[in-house]
Structures are given as C-alpha cells and as structure tokens.
Symmetry: C2
Subunit: 219 residues, 2 copies
C-alpha cells in the first residue's frame, strides 16, 4: 500500500521503517522538499519503497497518511500539505502536548472537550481520520511483542468504519492482536486517548523508561 508519513522525526522514522519492513511503499514528508532527515531515511533503507518529499508530495502519494508531526503544530503542518485529503485516511498518532507546563499538559484548546484528532477531522472534513497509536511509546507501538508477549491494549477511534478496519490491518501487521485493539467509537474518542497521555507522562516520570503500556482487563 502507498503510505505517506507527515513528520520526519523519531516517530515518523519508526513508523516508516516498520511499514517498509511490512512491504509498504512509504514517502516521508517534511516541510522542505530537500530535508536531511527524509534523505537519511531513504539512504538508510536503500529500498525502492522508501522515498521522501514535501508534506504535499507525501499527502498526494499516500492512500493512507500518518500524521506523525509534533502535535503542537500538527494542524498547521496539515494545512501546509495544501490538499483536502478527499477519500484518504489520515491516521493521527500525534499528541498535542503543551511542554511549557511541568509536567506537560495538553494544549488547553485541544483538551477535554476537544482533541487534535477531532480538530483534524473538523478542518479536513473529506478525510477519514482515525486516531490510534498515540497512547504508548512509538518504538513499542510498532512492535508490541516487546512487552508481555504482545498482550496489552491499544485504542482506536474514528467516524468511518472502513477506515478503522483498514487501520486495524496495519496494526495487526505491527503485531497487535485484534482482541487487544479496543474501538472506543467515533473521533471524539480522541479526547479520551489524548487525555490518557497526562497519566502516561506521570508513569514515564515514575518508571523512567518508555517500554510500558496498559492492558484493559474485564470480568
């Protein structure tokens, strides 16, 4: 599948590398056409499945677009792509952290009664926005078998059922068991998934390592 990744940082790199490993064609998108991190990514993989370009090029290339930009600037980055994403799936993995507070909180206008996932859907109504993979470190998210034999939980939300189904397929390729992918409903579920990050940051402060996650248990 052709996949565009917006954001050439660590999160985008982890996603891109894993997707290539799983046989997909990946274009990394950055703000500039000639960005060093995009070039590094292509050189690292030396695969015809790896390419890079601008946000606009990656958005045009992918049937599925990952938003792996810094959550604080994600809405601006998506505007820079200058496309309406009609019919495309945007998988939003970003978190709108406000790092000016200690510990970090969420950007107030994107918290509690709103979320980054919802705001992306609102600003790009022709896209099918799916929120997932944002509730744990990305190194673990793209390779969940590193913890508890892969038996832990991840969440998914979005308005379009077929988009969620296609996203779940990518998640199972990463190693997620289908029964551990918990669908919490429409895109307003992004409030819950982003709100969880406040707790996740506290756990990171307590544990001092990113290789942790939660498992939802029910009787």
């Amino acid at each position: 599948m052709k996949i565009g990744i917006l954001g050439t940082g660590e999160v985008g790199n982890l996603l891109g590398s894993r997707l290539i490993e799983n046989g997909h064609q990946v274009m990394m998108g950055g703000r500039e056409a000639n960005n060093q991190k995009g070039l590094d990514f292509v050189n690292k993989h030396s695969s015809e499945n790896a390419s890079y370009g601008t946000f606009a090029a990656a958005s045009g290339f992918g049937e599925i677009i990952f938003n792996a930009t810094n959550g604080r600037f994600a809405l601006d980055a998506l505007e820079l792509a200058n496309t309406d994403f009609a019919g495309k799936i945007i998988i939003d993995v970003a978190n709108p952290f406000d790092f000016t507070t200690k510990p970090p909180t969420l950007i107030p206008e994107l918290a509690n009664t709103n979320s980054l996932g919802e705001s992306i859907q609102h600003n790009f109504p022709n896209a099918k926005v799916v929120k997932t993979l944002n509730t744990l470190g990305m190194a673990l998210a793209v390779n969940p078998k590193q913890l508890n034999n892969g038996d832990h939980s991840i969440f998914i939300s979005g308005n379009d059922e077929s988009a969620k189904t296609r996203t779940k397929t990518l998640l199972t390729e990463f190693g997620w068991k289908i029964e551990n992918i918990i669908d919490i409903g429409d895109i307003t579920g992004a409030r819950a998934m982003e709100g969880f990050l406040i707790l996740s940051v506290r756990l990171l402060m307590s544990f001092g390592l990113p290789m942790f996650n939660i498992k939802v248990l029910k009787s």
Copy 2:
C-alpha cells in the same frame, strides 16, 4: 481507625461498608443531620462502628476523611464541613464530571492544568490530600479480587508521604497488592488520574459493564 465519609450515595456506602468490614469506625456525613441515607447505612450495619451525621460531624470524627461526594459539588460540600481539616488526611475519590456533555467530560476549570484533588489541597492547605480509587468503579475498587485475582493497577498521588503510606494500608486492606498501587507523585498527579476518566467512560460505553480496570505493564 476513625474514618469520616462525606457523601452518602453509592460510592460512600461501598466505602463505608468495606471499612466497617475491615474493623474501622465509620461516620457517614451528609448535608443534613437527619439524612435518610445515613440512617439507612447505620440500620444496615447494626454495628456500633457505624454512625452518621453532618459533613461537619463526620469531618470532626475522622482522622481520615473520604471525599465521596459528587465531584461537581465536592468543593462546596467540603466548605459546608466548616473545618480546616488541620492534620487530617482527606482521601479524594471523586471525579469532577460534567454530565452536560455527551459523552461526559471534565468540568473545564478542573481539567488538564488543574484537578479536583489539587483544588481541595489548595482550598484546605492544612489537610493532607491524597487522590486515589477514582479510576475504576467503586464496587471493584473496594474489592479488587473480583477481577484477575486482584492483579490490576491503581494510582495514588499526594504531597504528604506519610498520608500516602497510611492510605496504602487502607488499600491493602481492601485487597490491593502493594506492587499494584502506583505512586505517581505529588497532588498534581490528580490531573492524570481524573483525566483518565474520559477514557474510562468510553470503555464503559463500549463494554457496558463497570467491572473492568487496567493493569500497567512494563518490561
């Protein structure tokens, strides 16, 4: 130990009954001196360890005070107690839900960069406020062995280490394993624990039953 419980609803009843079962003296506190729910509680237990009175009476009685009031009105209820709680431990188990939104969110002024737990600490600086037990249904919280043999996680936060230690003792009496009680630091941790509720509500909507919780896993 002498324990006051502010709030005579289901949460207060579950806490009070379990604490009496564990040998503590419990006074239920309500807005009115002669409140029917307080009387019902005393009649149900027919134990000299069960009593009831006003918020003020229960606050005066307890070395430890549980705030089990409706989170939306908790700060007002604590004001009605008309005490400064000097040297007392307030264990805040309430959640400041705003039920006017669907699904429920948190009261905006108590969310993200603030919390009910912090606000109680702020308004009653002589109290030792501990936040815990708010992240799962209270029926399970007071009897965790009902799920996964008691092997799941609960969180605790607060500024005073000795108050957290005493609270942990009560939690272990409920059946919590000490290694599953995760200390996430000072009372600003209440932001994280209350913020988690947005996700918890979504899980409740998906699962349709309150007997669930999370277990934190780390490698």
